[in-house]
């Protein structure tokens, strides 16, 4: 493993090259105060084998990763989620073959304890493009380009699922995110967002279609985030450097945070695909008092043109990383929001810590 540690201002960066492609990655924070773990979904292009690896990170020397446990996946992983409850660390992974897998891990040393899989043909046709685990880790929503929205109930030894909606391919979904125990949001082509309420079956309760009329630029939502304290605001990132927030209370007008849109004067840190967005909870507790409820909380995004940046509404975006290759995903450590994990196109991961 080659690694470079460099100090950029108050940023510590560790690059660790993997001999494999990283399809997705997440932090896993168990009970232990001394160790932290990174969950990596990997694809070895030489042997064509996919796997999930849990790597332990040393708090004092983050570039020193060592393999804690690994699980061979039957197919390439499209999305990866980790439940945020330290007592019950649960990893959920969806695949390009339409299967969904849940890995239960030990709360202390993150070793794999058991696994549940859902691989029925009728579940999804083709790849699953987005999943999200509910806060309690008892339910998982999955969406696909096939137009199906499924809810999976995770029992101790059994998985059940029910179809919430099936567009029969008329609408393709690309991302999903829970807003509350009963509500979740999905995103898709044409910068569309849907808001669903389990208590109101039959279809989405609210829909948004971002039409900024930009000719033949692709317009796809790749990632959605919802802040637990403001479940009425949907944050979405997608094509052409676009990051926008849609407030369900003012449905007509989305707030554009980044993107090239004629007539809008937003400074865009990127012009290409925004692969992931997350609300950046770092330093937020200190400054949250200053942010009015009408304003969007700070947002972190990563992009195909190699940018990792924080966007605050009405301010210049702050670039954290500018890589020569795509940053395909990132994750903010929820327990320790100063720490970040990113995966790069060139078979490497970056561990950053903001001080």
């Amino acid at each position: 493993m080659a690694m470079v540690a460099e100090g950029v201002g108050t940023l510590q960066i560790h690059r660790i090259s993997q001999p494999k492609y990283i399809d997705a990655l997440r932090w896993l924070s168990p009970l232990s105060a001394f160790e932290r773990f990174a969950v990596l979904a990997l694809h070895d292009s030489d042997s064509d084998v996919s796997s999930i690896e849990i790597q332990a990170l040393n708090r004092s020397n983050p570039s020193n990763l060592h393999l804690q446990s690994s699980w061979a996946s039957p197919a390439r992983i499209s999305t990866l989620r980790v439940s945020q409850i330290p007592q019950k660390p649960l990893v959920a992974a969806s695949t390009y073959m339409g299967s969904l897998h849940f890995l239960f891990t030990d709360p202390v040393d993150a070793s794999l304890e058991s696994e549940l899989s859902l691989a029925e043909k009728s579940f999804h046709a083709g790849p699953i493009s987005g999943i999200d685990l509910q806060g309690t880790g008892s339910e998982c929503v999955s969406v696909g380009e096939d137009g199906r929205v499924n809810l999976v109930t995770i029992g101790d030894s059994k998985l059940n699922y029910r179809r919430v909606f099936d567009s029969h391919g008329l609408v393709s979904y690309t991302a999903a995110k829970w807003a509350s125990p009963a509500e979740f949001a999905t995103g898709g082509l044409g910068f569309s967002l849907q808001y669903w309420d389990q208590r109101k079956p039959g279809g989405a309760v609210s829909q948004f279609k971002g039409n900024w009329g930009r000719g033949n630029m692709s317009e796809i939502v790749h990632s959605i985030d919802i802040h637990p304290s403001r479940k009425h605001i949907l944050l979405a990132g997608g094509s052409s450097g676009t990051v926008f927030a849609w407030d369900l209370r003012w449905q007509k007008q989305p707030v554009l945070l980044s993107g090239i849109v004629p007539g809008e004067t937003v400074v865009s840190p990127s012009e290409s695909e925004v692969w992931e967005v997350q609300f950046d909870c770092y330093m937020q507790s200190a400054t949250i008092g200053n942010i009015s409820s009408g304003q969007i909380l700070p947002v972190m995004m990563c992009s195909e043109d190699g940018i990792l940046a924080v966007i605050k509404q009405g301010e210049q975006p702050m670039e954290i990383l500018a890589e020569p290759c795509a940053i395909n995903s990132f994750d903010i450590d929820k327990q320790n929001p100063s720490d970040l994990l990113c995966s790069l196109e060139w078979e490497s991961i970056v561990i950053l810590s903001r001080q």
């Binding site: 694809h43 064509d48 390009y96 073959m97 391919g169």
Partner: protein
């Protein structure tokens, strides 16, 4: 050095990869069409996704339709019929291979078929065992069953001097791979027949103004015009000031340079730059790589040979892949 990708069914007779190398169509002696797919991104694992009885006679050749028109193949069968099979949705999210067009064989048999795309339409050239060539055009870009016969001619330069009825064993067609507004559609065609004037490879170009196909070049030296042609292959041109076409005859593999601009009579200049010998016996297939710098060939000697030109423009055999069990 080699990596196994797919195990083929018993009785497999021919195979063809689609444009991006993710799908393999194979034809069997019993007329079954078998499809192998790599379903995940960037994967080299292939699984069989369809086995369909396509025809009663054995399939001798499979050719993919350009991807702009869907996932479909043309199958040439031993009884001379030509079939178009297409993968479409049937029922909710269920994919199935369906027959969308059948060109019956009468007295003549289909020997080769190749698709060429222009900016506006899809064209299909079919070579028949009587030495005739038919060019069809697709009427509806969404439906592969609506074809219109655009032209029919014989592979001879001077149609007046044409005589007799040819009986052809095989034919080989290769389209100019370039698609652009400035280019007219063109292809090269050669026959393996008992009538010498049909054999030599000719370059046919579509004359938009008069809506007809014209022979613009003949790829044979005066003494070699009757040579039976086994295979032709038009190289991709990424910027050369001339086209390169490979023609395999009983005398070897000839490489031709074809000028880009026509003279006053509408002819393109030709120059034979190499005659490569190596394959003993018949040449089965010739394929250019994506840059048009390496030519791969196979023949009845069971060897795959790779040919390149050196810095001085001298073509030579670069490598030979000999198969062993």
């Amino acid at each position: 050095m080699e990596k196994p990708l797919v195990m083929l069914d018993k009785g497999t007779n021919c195979s063809s990869w689609n444009y991006c190398g993710q799908r393999l169509a194979t034809g069997l002696l019993d007329g079954t069409l078998v499809i192998f797919d790599s379903l995940e991104p960037d994967s080299s694992t292939f699984t069989c996704t369809s086995r369909t009885k396509a025809h009663g006679a054995s399939i001798t050749k499979v050719i993919w339709v350009p991807p702009e028109y869907g996932d479909a193949v043309a199958c040439i069968c031993a009884d001379g019929t030509l079939l178009l099979w297409e993968e479409v949705e049937e029922g909710p999210q269920l994919l199935k291979w369906k027959l969308c067009k059948l060109f019956e064989s009468n007295a003549t048999q289909v020997l080769d078929v190749q698709f060429g795309i222009s900016l506006t339409s899809l064209k299909m050239v079919v070579a028949y065992s009587d030495g005739h060539v038919k060019v069809y055009e697709l009427l509806d870009p969404l439906l592969l069953n609506k074809w219109q016969l655009q032209a029919e001619f014989q592979n001879v330069i001077d149609s007046v001097a044409m005589c007799g009825k040819a009986s052809c064993l095989s034919a080989s067609i290769s389209w100019n791979p370039q698609i652009s507004e400035s280019h007219h559609s063109s292809f090269v065609l050669g026959f393996n027949s008992d009538l010498p004037q049909f054999n030599s490879s000719k370059v046919w170009e579509f004359d938009e103004a008069h809506q007809r196909w014209l022979p613009v070049a003949e790829l044979a030296l005066p003494g070699d015009k009757g040579d039976q042609v086994y295979a032709v292959a038009w190289a991709p041109n990424i910027g050369r000031p001339y086209e390169v076409i490979a023609v395999a005859t009983c005398k070897g593999i000839a490489l031709w340079h074809l000028g880009l601009n026509a003279d006053t009579e509408g002819r393109l200049s030709v120059e034979k730059v190499a005659l490569l010998s190596g394959h003993e016996g018949e040449v089965w297939q010739m394929e250019w790589d994506m840059s048009g710098m390496t030519l791969a060939t196979t023949g009845s000697d069971g060897v795959v040979r790779l040919w390149q030109s050196n810095l001085n423009g001298v073509w030579h055999e670069q490598a030979a892949l000999v198969s062993t069990s």
